[in-house]
């Protein structure tokens, strides 16, 4: 039997916005994924939780503008811990100009305002094919 996709979801840093991440968390759970929602965390704790929870995907949310500092840091720490295959997905108010740089450092997908839940679910559920 195919194991369901495990997603650790976090809000980056001290960003106060909550709605996007919680709505996506609901949608992923309704789509049959296992969601571990840890709220605001710094990159170290996010990666730590992802290792403990054996996550396939890390979902990050940021609307504060801190994404260019903290999202790449999550990817870097994952690689350092030998978890480079874990996909990191980012959602929030990400100016389109930032997307190429984020992709370059290894963020697998970026979902800005107005993204549909369907797209996000499709993208994340394709994280695990075995």
């Amino acid at each position: 039997m195919k194991k369901s996709v495990r997603v650790v979801m976090a809000r980056l840093g001290l960003d106060a916005h909550w709605r996007g991440s919680i709505v996506v968390a609901h949608a992923l759970r309704d789509a049959g994924m296992e969601v571990i929602y840890i709220g605001n965390q710094m990159p170290e704790e996010i990666v730590e939780t992802a290792i403990e929870e054996d996550a396939d995907v890390i979902g990050l949310s940021s609307l504060s503008g801190n994404h260019m500092i903290l999202a790449p840091e999550v990817v870097r720490l994952l690689k350092e811990r030998g978890m480079g295959e874990t996909r990191v997905v980012l959602g929030g108010t990400v100016p389109p100009d930032d997307i190429p740089r984020l992709k370059e450092v290894g963020i697998a997908g970026v979902f800005g305002p107005g993204s549909s839940l369907k797209e996000i679910i499709q993208f994340i559920s394709s994280a695990k094919v075995t």
Partner: protein, 563 residues
Amino acid sequence: MRSKRNLFNTDSIDKIRKKGEKWQRQVYPTEKQRQEVFKTLSGIPIEPIYTPLHLVEMDYLEDLGFPGEEPFVRGVHPTMYRGRTWTHRQLAGFGPPEETNKRYKFLLKQGAMGINGVFDYPTLRGYDSTDPEAYADVGRGGVAIDTVEDMRILFDGIPLDRVSSSLVTCQPIGNISVQSMYFANAQAQAVPFSELRGTSQNDFLMETAVAIAPEVFPPRASFKFSCDAIEYCTKHVPRWNPVSFAGYNYREAGCTAVQEVAFVLANAIACSEELIKRGLEVDRFAPRLSFFLSGHSDFFEEIAKYRAARRTWYKVMKERFGAKDPRSLALRFHVQTAGVALTAQQPLNNIARAAYHALSAVLGGAQSVHIDAYDEALCTPTELSSLTALRTQQVLQLETRVTHTIDPLGGSYFVESLTNQLEEKIVALLDDVEATGGIVKAVEKGWVHKEISSAAYEYQKAIESGEMQIVGVNCYKIEDEKLPVELFRVPETLEVQRAKLERIKKERHSKEVQKALDALLRCCEKDGNLMEVVVEGVKAHVTEGEITKVLKGYYGTWNPPLF
């Protein structure tokens, strides 16, 4: 009690009913409807036409009255915008205080009527810029404040006795320090407390149920911080609004119009009970309780919401608390246009959206308004987008003539009917909160969190299914759109703040700092009013982070139900 005096006589009503039924049966169905059902954004069914039949029970004097008089449905002031228009209060804040000070001055020069200062995430949550959790968020979403010196720089050259300042200190933990720094700075500028006018947000739901994060202050502690500030201002800063119950933010987090109003009122009820318990007369503090509501997309529902909120608050204050001062009975509110309704796609469309949102606020009798800038779904507003938002206020005020009569939609069969329906639903939800044990208990139990997150999910599902259409997002899309706006970049902040903090920590008297922090701890232990000691403490250049550390040490932390 006198019996109801209905607006329409029985004979007229009978005739209208007969004619109306015939119309509904024979005339209306001859043409096709676009949709099977029409509903407000909060789900109230909307009928094809509203007539006196919807207001059969209405007693004009009892249910509507006149502006500035009970039950304040038609407005809180006798002259409303014929006397003074709403305050144009545009949000501003980013980077270090040196930069935000320039934006404040720019907006004031362009005709803004007051300051609406927003703070960065570390400041809102009680951290110093140099705390390890803060580095990526310093200067983002607002201005960075660490010490009273930053407050001096922020308001440099702005006369505190003449300009009113709204401090968007949404979380009580951040408010304790920031508000104290504002007051301490005013004293240093020789402006007496009696001259200070302004508002702090100071809403404990913002700390525990809306902008939730792990390891926040327990709801009881956060609620205490909030009430301490209200009590302090009531006693010492009489023209300051020490709380602005932040329904706007509840709405942004996912609430419906009904939840937004019910939760702010539940919060205000809890604060009132606590302050009365502390020995204050209701009419001493209630005139300064203020509200912050959203201006969302459903034009008529929003107008009805503001009117229903006024009537419900009036009844609560009168019947439950026995308030007598008309200022206690009148609900005054600031509106911000709904950020959540803005789109990153085709961002200039947001100018039109926000103008409609603001129009509903004005037709609903708001005391002050902020209009969102068109680029807010993408970044912090640029100078151009901020100016466009301010100009939208000015066009609305000066060109449309909607200000020339009071409550122009009063008497509309539809708006009055919707006002009644919203009031009923708000009261029912208030009863649910009461049954849960009041708002503080409802937060502790995670009940509020569940209410908000379910509503947010339902809203998104409606967009997803296409039932709710958003121009540029799920209809009228432009593929591979080129962004027509310049994006704002936050100026370097962390190093600026770090340099100041290092200098201040070297220059300040460490004995005085220790004395202030000890006094704070002792105040916690004897359950005193924390504001009394923090206002003094910040004068010794105690930092916000140092204050938070003492409070966290004493009150501990709480993990809200996250999901």
